[in-house]
Amino acid sequence: MNSATVSGGIEYVVASYVITWVVLGVMLVRIVGSVRRARAEYDQARTGGFRT
Amino acid sequence: MAFRDDMRRTRAIVWKDLTTERRSKAGFNSVAALGITILVLFGFALGPDGAMLKAAAAGALWLAVLFAGVLAFNRSYQVELEGGALEALLLYPGARWAIFAGKLIANLIFVTAMLVIVVAVGIVLFQVRIPAQWPSLIGIMMLGVIGIVALGTFYAAMSSRSRAREVLLPLLLYPMLIPVLLASMEATKAFLIGDVMNATGAWVQMLSLFDVIFLVATFLAFEYVIEV
């Protein structure tokens, strides 16, 4: 905290970007998947398909 | 006078809660014993060093009150759930806040009684010197208890009627209580080991402010929580 400059630490920068992108990517995949699933479920229910 | 009717209902609920609690003495005794046990455990965690114990006494006291109090909050609705008494309670006419006020006051008395025991034991165990301004300390403790009980009574209304009530109440309640606990601990600490920062007044003001905010919020929201 008192150090005048922080020279290194590039690995922390890389890590934070990697984590951010991975988290957002996983969110994207999961959310798109959940919309697809729910939509398919709805279509099936509407056409009278049996659902447990 | 609708307000007077509701006050009468509040008194009836307080009387009813305290009477049932008094008749099952095991309830209060075990909750108080748990509070003491937690203090003892804190003693072991902090070591036998007197100065260390004194420094941590305020925090340990409040956490013991909190952990034991959580049991009291769930118990307070447990009485209502046995035999469907809550159903009958909700069927009586009158404002919903009267029910909350009744439960809150009963819990307040219950937790205060427990606090007296826990503090008495804590003073001995943690080698605390009773400060000269002890009446103010009692005031601070009451402010802290009001905050804890208001939120505890509110969240227990939900958790006690859901699955997994043992986990849910602490999970919902503890994060909400952080400001109240922080202010209570710091103010108590300032009294017990000396007010180095001269900040007690500010903590007490904050604590009062939190109490007012949370009391207003819980009173307003209780209707939505107890109905349905």
Partner: protein, 238 residues
């Protein structure tokens, strides 16, 4: 006379949301690359400054999401429109993920700067408390089946939680001030500000898009439940 609100049973309306999703992601990639490429190494923090372009936007959208939970919860209690409850739940789910991300990024930033993974400063601590409130909110939802009860209870928890966040921040800051380890935030020079604002905009778009998709999924689930009921028991006089 409360008009009956059964809107939540209809399937959600279609919109250009797939296109908006692609655009949001493209914009996000652009702003990230742009900000990293254009910002010079900071005099004091070196390259660590670049973490600002993920950390600050993530923190911002966390609070945005919780703001949506607050507004949707209030709306639900006033109007009893189940769609508001579903929106609040979607915002809470997305918000909790961004909140977790913010915490991890905060720790990654704290380690090289302060040499500790965690410092009990007001922002970090209140973000952690916010995360715990999110977790409690979502746990409550998963433990209550009845939608009416779940809606009212989680709305109450959401509103009180939202009230609590500034209070936590205030009390932790005051607590830290007493212990004299508060770091002084510096003003931000304009060369960084542009990249930051662009990234905040991109994160906001992404967050809203995520919440919207999650909400659409929840609406489809509702509509599916309703449709399967109608199919199984032969018509419903809704």
């Amino acid at each position: 006379m409360s008009p009956v609100n059964t809107n939540a049973f209809d399937p959600p309306k279609a919109g250009p949301w797939v296109a908006i999703g692609w655009l949001s992601f493209a914009f996000f990639v652009f702003t990230q690359v742009f900000a990293v490429m254009t910002s010079p190494a900071d005099a004091m923090m070196g390259h660590l400054q670049k973490m600002m372009y993920v950390h600050v936007p993530a923190a911002w959208v966390t609070f945005l999401a919780f703001g949506i939970v607050l507004v949707a919860s209030l709306y639900f209690l006033m109007k009893e429109d189940e769609r508001a409850d579903l929106l609040a739940a979607s915002a809470a789910e997305v918000g909790s993920l961004f909140c977790g991300l913010t915490l991890v990024l905060g720790m990654l930033w704290g380690r090289p700067t302060w040499n500790v993974w965690w410092s009990w400063d007001a922002r970090l601590t209140s973000t952690l408390v916010l995360f715990l409130i999110f977790v409690g909110y979502l746990a409550l939802r998963s433990f209550v089946e009845d939608p009416q009860r779940r809606g009212q209870w989680s709305a109450a928890v959401g509103i009180l939680g939202a009230i609590n966040v500034p209070i936590v921040w205030m009390s932790v800051r005051w607590w830290r001030t007493l212990h004299q380890i508060q770091s002084n935030p510096r003003g931000l020079s304009p060369e960084y500000l542009r990249g930051l604002l662009l990234n905040v905009a991109a994160f906001t778009l992404l967050c809203i898009w995520f919440i919207q998709r999650r909400y659409v999924a929840a609406r489809y689930e509702r509509a599916a439940e309703h449709a399967s009921q109608a199919a199984a028991l032969g018509g419903n006089d809704e």
